[in-house]
């Protein structure tokens, strides 16, 4: 008789150290409920603009169903290079410095793996997107957390960054506009970070997936700062700006050495991003600007609505300048983030995400997405108000 197998014995040790996403738990809890208003959704509530969908349909009708270059379609990379040159004044060679990936999540994973040796420290600025810490751990790196604070509008300061750097530090992951806080960093803020980065000779992985979603002022692309182009792995995608989450379409931009290292992993794991989605991305870059601007103006109005509503209710909330999240404090209620979110969901059927899911720095806060209709936001605010008044 053959020896019985114990599958758990074969699971790599790191898997036991990485906790499941806290968001996943809320997904499971919310899935069984009816009459739910969800502020837990981190994606646009628009369908991808029709002309983008139409370009994909036409490409399928033409039989464009093949693999593409590992780097992605050269037409897409050229469009991206032109777009960055025009918008941010930063030039990337479409042949050697751009890699098209399946979502920013893949770009992030590949970027971290491409630069991390076992034991290297990667600084993660929190509150942050839930994938950063696990991605560092999967790569054999050591995540080092830097917590940002409400009193600094959740901006990373040069002092905080410098204090976390050790001889083992390889890179820092930043994400502005930020998920979950909606915080942005202006040019002067980023210049101070750039000084520290150069001084200590580390890399920056800059996740700029919300770059188009800024209000009252534009976005500063980190690699456009003097001397930062070679030190930056710039990640961005089409999900948020063009309402293309299901397309899984993104890209990384960096110096040729870094991109070729990333491409090696991408080549052997993903091979290439789906061609249909790449065709959609080309159309988005060529003709999507107008629709995108309309969506951003609409988010802007919802942002005002939800910020003023939450402040009125007594859930103190700074005014985010980017992305489509607000990050109100629930401390005034005496409840923890998790108690508040769970009770709000069970008693009033409003789904939000507790801030501590995004790291310790998010303790005492909630993430509420306003990428949902004005009517839903108004209904959610009414229910939150009733909940808070009933405490």
């Amino acid at each position: 008789m053959r020896k019985a197998c114990t599958p758990s014995k074969f699971v790599a040790d790191v898997m036991n150290k990485v906790p499941p996403s806290g968001i996943r738990r809320y997904f499971d809890l919310a899935s069984g409920l009816e009459d739910v208003i969800s502020l837990g959704v981190g994606e646009p509530d628009y369908v991808t603009p029709w002309h983008i969908r139409e370009a994909c349909i036409h490409s399928l009708e033409c039989g464009e169903t093949s693999y593409t270059s590992n780097y992605g379609l050269i037409e897409l990379r050229e469009e991206l290079a032109d777009y960055y040159a025009a918008k941010y004044g930063v030039n990337y060679n479409p042949n050697t410095e751009i890699l098209v990936t399946s979502g920013v999540s893949e770009a992030l994973d590949v970027a971290i793996r491409a630069i991390t040796n076992p034991g290297d420290e990667i600084i993660v600025v929190q509150p942050s997107y839930v994938a950063y810490v696990p991605s560092v751990m999967f790569a054999g790196g050591v995540p080092v957390i830097v917590s940002t604070k409400l009193e600094n509008n959740f901006k990373l300061t040069a002092e905080e960054l410098e204090a976390a750097i050790t001889p083992k530090t390889k890179a820092v992951i930043i994400n502005y506009p930020n998920n979950p806080t909606g915080a942005t960093m202006g040019k002067a803020d980023l210049e101070a970070i750039a000084d520290v980065v150069c001084e200590h000779d580390i890399m920056v992985i800059s996740d700029e997936v919300y770059d188009c979603l800024t209000y009252n002022g534009g976005h500063t692309c980190f690699s456009s700062l003097e001397g930062m182009r070679e030190r930056t792995i710039l990640l961005n995608g089409f999900s948020k700006a063009y309402a293309m989450t299901g397309f899984r379409m993104a890209y990384a931009m960096a110096s040729p050495k870094i991109i070729s290292a990333m491409m090696l992993i991408h080549q052997y794991s993903m091979l290439c991003a789906p061609i249909t989605a790449q065709i959609g991305a080309i159309e988005a870059l060529k003709n999507g600007h107008h629709e995108m601007e309309k969506m951003v103006r609409d988010y802007d109005r919802r942002r005002h609505l939800i910020v003023s509503g939450l402040n009125r209710i007594g859930l103190k909330c700074f005014e985010p300048k980017g992305a489509f999240y607000v990050f109100p404090s629930v401390e005034s209620t005496g409840l923890s983030s998790e108690e508040f979110a769970e009770r709000l969901m069970n008693e009033k059927r409003v789904v939000t995400i507790p801030g501590n899911v995004f790291g310790e720095a998010g303790t005492g806060f909630l993430r509420c997405s306003y990428a949902t209709s004005k009517d839903e936001i108004e209904k959610a605010l009414e229910r939150i108000e009733a909940f808070v008044n009933g405490l």
Binding site: F27, S38, G40, V41, Y46, A131, R297, D298, R301
Partner: protein
């Protein structure tokens, strides 16, 4: 146009019933600012009218619509305007447009029955001196009116929580 004005116009285009207080909240303005912007837009004629898009079929009061294409003759030194001014005063005429191409003008005409519309065209439009030729297309169904889809909307099916 500045961003504040665009926000105000988009709010009003979306919902003509919206209050100035609501616009102020949505656009991050004070109520006085909204009052002033709206007043200016009304006075300058940018805002022509506050209107409701109604699905009359759904309301159970069905109207018949027809698109009438007109070929017209123009006398020297007299443009389209005298004819257009006569046309747009008929209450049956909902819209008047000057076109390029084979026809000169396009009218949208409404009536209670096809017969009513047909008689209106035959008696009031075709008999006008400058009108050389008319082609009438009856509207069988309206799927979109003034930018509002009457048939069905794109449905976004999202998970209640996403990563």
């Amino acid at each position: 146009m500045d961003n504040k004005t665009r926000h105000v116009l988009e709010c009003l285009e979306e919902d003509a019933k919206i209050s100035h207080e609501e616009i102020a909240t949505l656009a991050g303005l004070t109520i006085d600012e909204v009052d002033n912007i709206v007043k200016e837009l009304e006075e300058s004629g940018v805002i022509r009218k506050y209107k409701t898009v109604i699905d009359w079929d759904l309301a159970g009061d069905e109207n018949v619509y027809a698109i009438i294409e007109l070929e017209v003759s123009l006398e020297r030194s007299i443009g389209y305007l005298p004819l257009v001014e006569r046309l747009y005063r008929f209450p049956e005429v909902r819209s008047v447009r000057l076109l390029s191409g084979q026809y000169d003008l396009s009218l949208t005409v409404s009536g209670k029955t096809m017969k009513e519309v047909a008689f209106f065209v035959a008696e009031k439009i075709s008999t006008l001196e400058q009108v050389q030729h008319t082609t009438t297309h009856f509207v069988l169904k309206t799927y979109k009116e003034d930018g509002v889809i009457l048939h069905e909307q794109d449905h976004v099916s999202r998970l209640p929580v996403t990563p």
